[in-house]
Amino acid sequence: MKAMTERKLRENLSAYLFVGPFVVLCALFIIYPIFRGFINSLYNTKWRATVYVGLQNYKTIFSNATSMLAIKNSLLFVATVVPLLIIFGIWISGSIFDKRRLYVSGVRAVLYIPVIASMVVMSIIWRFILDSQSGLVRYFCMLLGLKPVNVLADPTYTIYLLIFILFTMNIGQCVVLYTADMLSIPNDLLEACRIDGGGRLDMFRYILIPLTKNTTIFTFITQTASVFKVFIVIQLLTRGGPNYKTTTMMYLLYEYAFGNNINTGVASAMGVLMFVISLVLITLRFVFIRREKEAM
């Protein structure tokens, strides 16, 4: 009995040696900064003096037109890009997954390439393509006999353009996930659908969409998190402009924290607001995990 507890203790100790580095690093570089950000959001720095201001920074955010627009834009990106990713992810994967293997991996690779190339490189290329003087878009406008527009300086286009660019940069991830899931669907099911005379649309409706529900939930949660923090595309393409029309929460946080318009209290409050969104997603995730376990 004594040997038993001693073994238990030894196992506990060596386990802590294994997880120790990770736990310490997380505490120092993830948990502590989040906590500090929350504290900082209650203070404001003016003329080098830091004073407690309570919820004033949050009031500033909610009473300022620019920051409200930033919140609206962030939500708008999530509300448009994430559903597009799910719909097109299911459609593309459901149309390719039962074709030749080479074709499947080809489409997957091509759509994943923008992810590999990175947001920075893709944003740079788009800036070249959209250049008001020498960009391809100007050329196509001329070909179609349209008046050339500076897309990046025109608020009516920039939002749609950013939605499109964010979509092309994230769709690869979704297609990889959905095809992997669809390839694991038993062949008998697909066969049965065909024998019953079901077409591709029936296959989507009765097999592919219901059986990839878990991937859809996962995609919804992770892509919401990823679209919500969008920063690079904004910084490199529009700098939040024209006239703050494309500012997002993350870009405004950056402006307040490191830009020309420094206000660390408001920047911290913005960080906390973004963290709250993460908390909502985390809750959803855990609810989903528990439901999964109960279903099993």
Partner: protein, 287 residues
């Protein structure tokens, strides 16, 4: 695997879908084609409208320019060092923690694993300002060592890595560990002698995904290197070529720099494609 199912008949809907998907693939790859071809054009040709659809007078002039007009070698050295060191650290920290969470029983195990799952959804951007102040207070600023420390150390804890490795160790049957324990092999020894060799696939997937994530960790690198252009990493340097302060105006050169920045990742992607799918899908569906 050949085509699944045996029915040769294909519906019109399916055909149209696949044609549209191929067109979309072309559209999605086109920007990169435009970048690579642009990088081989002289500065006059690259901005010409109507454009040359491929470089008629191909030149390496822009690539020379990237390395002679800008400290691009330094950017490469910085990016490669930071990425390699951080990735090695992430692999060590994550496989140890993932192993313990999967194969060892200890107090606080569920709490730590719940934290891992939660932290997956909290992007660094949320706490970037306090973290920046924190590393500044450590004096990790200004010098090469300082900038490297700031770029490397806070990224060593990667919840996604722990999550991925735990899922990989979960696929090693517990019975195997039990059997080894009965033979007198402790769980710690098991990790080094059997666990690590068996999880090569997981470690490969993690190394690649972590490496790409670190290489592209633009915001954090931008904040920690802005004091000198010799500290820039490649993505920061390349993006900086669009700032007026860089003195650069040539799109050909900018595209060459972008190509240089993306090239290592493409090489890794095409050499290790199988790791990608396993890494991306690992744990997406099951918990």
């Amino acid at each position: 695997m050949k085509r699944r199912g045996s029915l040769g008949k294909r519906s019109a809907f399916d055909t149209v879908s696949n044609v549209l998907i191929i067109l979309f693939c072309l559209l999605s790859i086109f920007p990169l084609y435009w970048m690579v071809t642009g990088s081989f054009k002289y500065s006059g040709d690259v901005v010409k409208l109507p454009p040359d659809w491929f470089p008629i007078h191909p030149t390496l002039y822009n690539y020379r320019g990237v390395f002679t007009n800008h400290p691009a070698w330094r950017w490469i050295v910085n990016s490669v060092s930071v990425t390699l060191i951080t990735t090695a650290g992430i692999v060590l920290v994550s496989s140890a923690a993932g192993y313990a969470l999967s194969k060892m029983r200890f107090i606080g195990r569920r709490l730590i694993f719940s934290f891992v799952i939660a932290a997956l959804l909290v992007p660094m951007e949320v706490y970037v300002l306090p973290l920046y102040k924190q590393v500044t207070s450590y004096g990790w600023r200004g010098s090469v060592t300082g900038a490297y420390l700031a770029m490397i150390v806070p990224n060593l804890a990667m919840p996604f890595g722990v999550y991925l490795m735990k899922n990989f160790y979960d696929t090693i049957p517990d019975a195997l560990v039990e059997a080894a324990t009965l033979d007198g092999c402790g769980r710690t020894r098991f990790f080094f002698e059997i666990g690590i060799p068996l999880s090569k696939g997981g470690i490969g997937a993690l190394a690649i995904l972590a490496g790409i994530r670190i290489w592209n960790n633009y915001l954090w690198q931008l904040l920690n290197t802005f004091s000198s252009k010799y500290l820039y990493t490649l993505p920061v340097g390349v993006a900086g070529l669009f700032d007026t302060s860089s003195g650069e105006t040539d799109y050909g050169l900018r595209m060459a720099a972008a190509t240089v920045s993306a090239l290592p990742l493409f090489i890794i992607f095409f050499s290790f494609q199988r790791f990608f799918t396993s890494g991306i899908t690992a744990g997406a569906v099951k918990e």
